[in-house]
């Protein structure tokens, strides 16, 4: 039984099921709730509410859809003292996330070069199934990446101070160690750094179509009418293997600790246990790998911009706006009933959205709040938002992460044709380079919700505010 709280918030009371320990709060409109009833999103959210040591309600964002274990868009905070960490609640693509770069290149001035730009990005940014990066990592490199994150790239000249400062956690989650990662994960990670992968991952050039908050846009360096670039990818085979290893090994831990679960994908271990600590260390290692991965792709994109624009304009630089994770578990301190409580916030298809004043933000964003990056589907648009103070009290400092799927991949690929879609998008002035046409069809705009409705919901709920709207120009997919 779902209760309506207001036009943008709903609740599944904990009395709804005997095994729920906390209620579920959903940020959604009535049509979104009705759509969610068509798949398993609501059941999955209720399943998450059975986890031991939850510090409060399970939150679900308006881009929710059925996942595995957690619904996509699910946020759960568990107490470090007596709660659990669930690898499946963070996902196989650990620290899948988005990086946004911006420029002062005016879209109208380069409209005739966009096809070349798409081709150059496709050439410089390795993508697709089995893609390998140009950097082959030694054991020591990998160990440093796991421990130091993006700082590893600075001594090679591959990351600047702004890149690091404008990355969540400054590109390094503490505690990451190669010691807690399997040999297999290391083998997979060594070959794939600086690669995009396939599926819904992309590099996308957009232009700033509209600005809603001048001060925030100025702080972020977003210029009306100018080009930006988004990178959406994660920890590649390294993270997939880390999660696979721990979801398997923790099948025994739930027996050891006597934890009853409604779904085995929610397998977990107490945070304060050998198993929990080992997973958090391995997860941090994979998250740090993902931060470095997006850093190297950002450099590859910068090289592509230079190849196309050098000599044709004075400034083709892409500066970092922000880099955020949307599949991650973070140890954070939240105020609960007036007291500071240390919790592990699981964000599965949700982003951190800290408000103004948060000490975790770089100086230039401390007045405006954290940039929240919400990519849409490749034919529509994307949003840059800023976190509000209310997010900490109402959504575990979290917001939505994208548009959210509505159509199954199986249906998308039978009802839409990749080549036809590519031509349609090009007719709209959007240049697509894709390694797989069936893969492109699965990611068609029609397979996703309207990202504008998703954004209007979190804005109306008061957890974020609008900064800028972006429109796509070039899309590279694996």
């Amino acid at each position: 039984m779902i209760k309506k709280i207001n036009d943008y918030e709903w609740e599944i009371p904990k009395q709804d099921r005997p095994d729920m320990r906390q209620p579920v709060r959903l940020f959604a409109t009535e049509p979104m709730i009705n759509a969610a009833r068509q798949d398993k999103s609501l059941d999955q959210a209720a399943n998450v509410a059975t986890l031991p040591g939850l510090a409060g309600p399970v939150m679900v964002m308006p881009d929710m859809h059925q996942g595995y274990g957690f619904p996509i868009g699910g946020v759960a905070a568990t107490r470090v003292s007596d709660g659990v960490v669930s690898p499946g609640g963070i996902g196989y693509d650990i620290n899948c996330g988005v990086r946004l770069l911006a420029s002062s290149i005016e879209m109208e001035a380069v409209r005739g070069q966009l096809s070349d730009l798409a081709t150059a990005l496709d050439r410089f940014c390795p993508s697709g199934v089995g893609s390998k990066g140009s950097v082959h990592l030694s054991e020591r490199d990998l160990e440093e990446i796991c421990r130091k994150g993006v700082a590893w790239a600075t001594k090679r000249g591959w990351a600047g101070a702004d890149d690091i400062r404008r990355t969540e956690e400054e590109g390094c989650i503490n505690g990451g160690s190669l010691d807690t990662v399997s040999k297999r994960a290391g083998e997979r990670g060594r070959e794939q750094l600086g690669t995009l992968g396939a599926g819904n991952h992309f590099v996308e050039v957009d232009w700033v179509e509209e600005i809603f908050d001048d001060a925030a846009a100025q702080a972020m360096g977003l210029n009306l009418g100018c080009l930006t670039l988004q990178i959406h990818t994660g920890s590649r085979g390294f993270g997939h293997q880390v999660c696979t290893d721990y979801v398997q090994s923790l099948q025994r831990a739930v027996q050891k600790y006597g934890i009853q679960l409604p779904d085995r994908e929610l397998v977990c271990a107490p945070i304060d246990s050998d198993e929990g600590r080992a997973y958090l260390s391995a997860m941090a290692a994979a998250a740090n790998y993902a931060f470095v991965n997006r850093q190297l792709i950002a450099n590859e994109a910068r090289e592509a911009f230079e190849a196309v624009f050098a000599g044709k304009m004075k400034n083709w630089h892409l500066h970092q706006v922000y880099d955020i994770a949307h599949n991650v578990g973070k140890l954070e301190t939240h105020i609960i009933n007036g007291e500071k409580v240390r919790v592990c916030v699981h964000r599965k298809g949700a982003t951190r959205a800290f408000g103004p004043g948060s000490p975790e933000l770089p100086d230039e964003y401390r007045r405006i709040g954290q940039p929240v990056l919400v990519p849409g589907s490749m034919g529509t648009g994307s949003w840059v938002l800023a976190g509000n103070e209310a997010s900490l009290a109402r959504s575990w400092g979290s917001s939505c992460h994208g548009a959210g799927r509505v159509m199954s991949r199986a249906k998308a690929k039978t009802s839409l044709h990749g080549e036809e879609l590519r031509r349609e998008l090009q007719a709209q002035g959007i240049f697509v380079r894709a390694g797989s046409m069936p893969g492109l069809a699965e990611e068609a705009p029609g397979a996703y919700k309207d990202v504008d409705e998703v954004v209007e919901t979190v804005v109306a709920a008061g957890i974020v505010r609008k900064v800028a709207r972006l429109r796509p120009l070039c899309v590279v997919k694996g």
Partner: protein, 147 residues
């Protein structure tokens, strides 16, 4: 509901096989076979079909696997995860299996060849809703893959 999907479009249900199930964001399979070794082999074939993985005409290769799990479902996930690992790291796919299951452990001999074609990759095999169910004709289960 899954059974309806299996029967839809099929004049007669074969004793073993697989079919893709609708899933919003990921891929899912329904798999059935007379026994657990058969179920493991069909799950492998179904996973390769989802990935559009084709065994090439290169030199045949064999591998031997020994796996164990806490139960049959755990074994199924370990089995498929192993095949994914071999596809990604050695670009190998297999089309002939000799599988022996004892309790919740297996020994398997695989025969295959380098991949001729692979356009879609699976990130992982999940435990979501995973339950191997006995029926009149053997065993069946549904498997969700993260993509």
């Amino acid at each position: 509901m899954d059974t309806c999907i299996i029967l839809k479009g099929m004049k007669e249900k074969k004793p073993r096989g697989f079919i893709e199930l609708p899933n919003t964001a990921d891929w899912a399979l329904q798999v059935w076979a007379p026994d657990l070794p058969g179920l493991l082999a069909e799950a492998a074939a179904g996973m390769y079909a989802l990935m559009q993985a084709q065994v090439g005409e290169g030199p045949r290769q064999t591998r031997t696997l020994s796996l164990s799990g806490v139960d049959a479902e755990d074994l199924l996930v370990s089995w498929l995860a192993e095949l994914l690992y071999l596809a990604e790291t050695e670009a190998l796919a297999f089309d002939a299996f000799s599988i022996r299951v004892t309790g919740s452990a297996l020994e398997a001999e695989l025969s295959g060849a380098p991949l001729a074609h692979l356009t879609r990759m699976i990130k992982a095999v999940t435990y979501h809703g995973l339950a191997i169910r006995p029926g009149e004709d053997g065993l069946s289960t549904s498997i969700v893959f993260d993509v």
